[in-house]
Symmetry: C2
Subunit: 244 residues, 2 copies
Amino acid sequence: MAAVERAELLSKQVEGALKQRIRDGSLAPGEQLPPENQLAAFYGVSRSTVRAALAHLQREGSVVRRQGSGTYVTRGALYVDCHLEQLWNFDDVIRAGGHEPSIGWLDYEETLPDRYTRENLLLGPEETVLVIRKVFLADEQPVIHCVDYIPRQLISKPFTRDDLVPQVFSFLEEFAGERVIYYVAELIPVVAEGDTAQRLKCSSGAPLLLFDEVAYNIEDKPILCCLVHHRQKSLRLRIVQSRT
Amino acid sequence: MAAVERAELLSKQVEGALKQRIRDGSLAPGEQLPPENQLAAFYGVSRSTVRAALAHLQREGSVVRRQGSGTYVTRGALYVDCHLEQLWNFDDVIRAGGHEPSIGWLDYEETLPDRYTRENLLLGPEETVLVIRKVFLADEQPVIHCVDYIPRQLISKPFTRDDLVPQVFSFLEEFAGERVIYYVAELIPVVAEGDTAQRLKCSSGAPLLLFDEVAYNIEDKPILCCLVHHRQKSLRLRIVQSRT
DNA sequence: TAGTGGTCTAGACCACAAA
DNA sequence: TTGTGGTCTAGACCACTAG
């Protein structure tokens, strides 16, 4: 029996263990996994816990499950790391594409929001926002241009420029005590122009993918909105949909 | 042979009932749902079943759940119908945007695939594909241009042009006996040009969203690939991501 | 027929929030 | 302290696949 710690969720531990076996090739694409009961016995957990882990692997497209037959590693299991689900963290997306992430440019200011932002964040007419503009590089090439709007009022601790370098979500947790529970993103294809084009070093008219996002805290209050431009060159975004 | 309808899953029934209450306003945004135990008693199912239903509503962003507090309808609950998850069916996406879907143009031919398609579908050098080209309209305006490639060999029943009008997935099930279990889509922003631009009635250089998809059956064999161009005008695509 | 995954139950215990 | 959601268990039964 494999030793399991109580700290992390049991199902996450099982999921991680199986993912590891898929990544290192001890479970090859097409290969059948051991049956649920056997996995449960091996890891010393209940069948339900194993099923929770397998359900997650299925949802991200790493395995397919056939009733009456078994669970199998998919052909695409090795490419599941550049998922849209990973979009919580740009660095992960860039790394999943095999590139080294870094920050290419950073700028910020406090200002009155435009009408659209004010409505999205449910702000009063006098309330200001902290605007953060960043460019993310993949192997020194600019790939993501990101503008974040945070209600100034939320930020309760003084910060410096260096505090803005990590992900916005981390910044919000540390300096506003706000945790993003979910966000809604609208996908819009656009063409590059103006400052955005220049900062992404692409010519005017080049196709970009724009994410217009609003993020909410546990109380369903909008605490952040972003406009994120993705330059597709050497950055792939994937979706996996599996039938329920 | 008569098709036998299996009773719908209990969790799906509960989910549907709650969704209905959200849609018709008897559960308003911000409002708290009854506790799990109460829902379980009310619908005559176990707490686990209720939790499965609530987990699904949470995943699509219709509710947020706060440990120790309760489950609440989100502000965005009313807009969850234009999800990327609905992408199985273009008609649904178009209808969710408040428009009437129809088919604007349809063309098909049998041909030898190009190298890219042949590799995606794991075809031999002699095998042909059925190519289906369609344009979907929303309120008579072209919004989606779709090219499907199906290995000719899979199609086991004769078909007519009319059989191609429904969704490809339905066509595959009826005429090839193949069911799509999951698909992988890559999102690519492009600019309109040539035939695609003309059929979508947009000017050359207009931004489009391209989905490069490969769909697999239960045996993890690729059975379909598509190139789908979305024109964003009056068609919104949304993603909801919630923290696990 | 044996073995697999799919659904559902009843109940235990824990973590957290609010009164 | 009470009540909420979060995790986990053990077991029943069903649906489907394969030999």
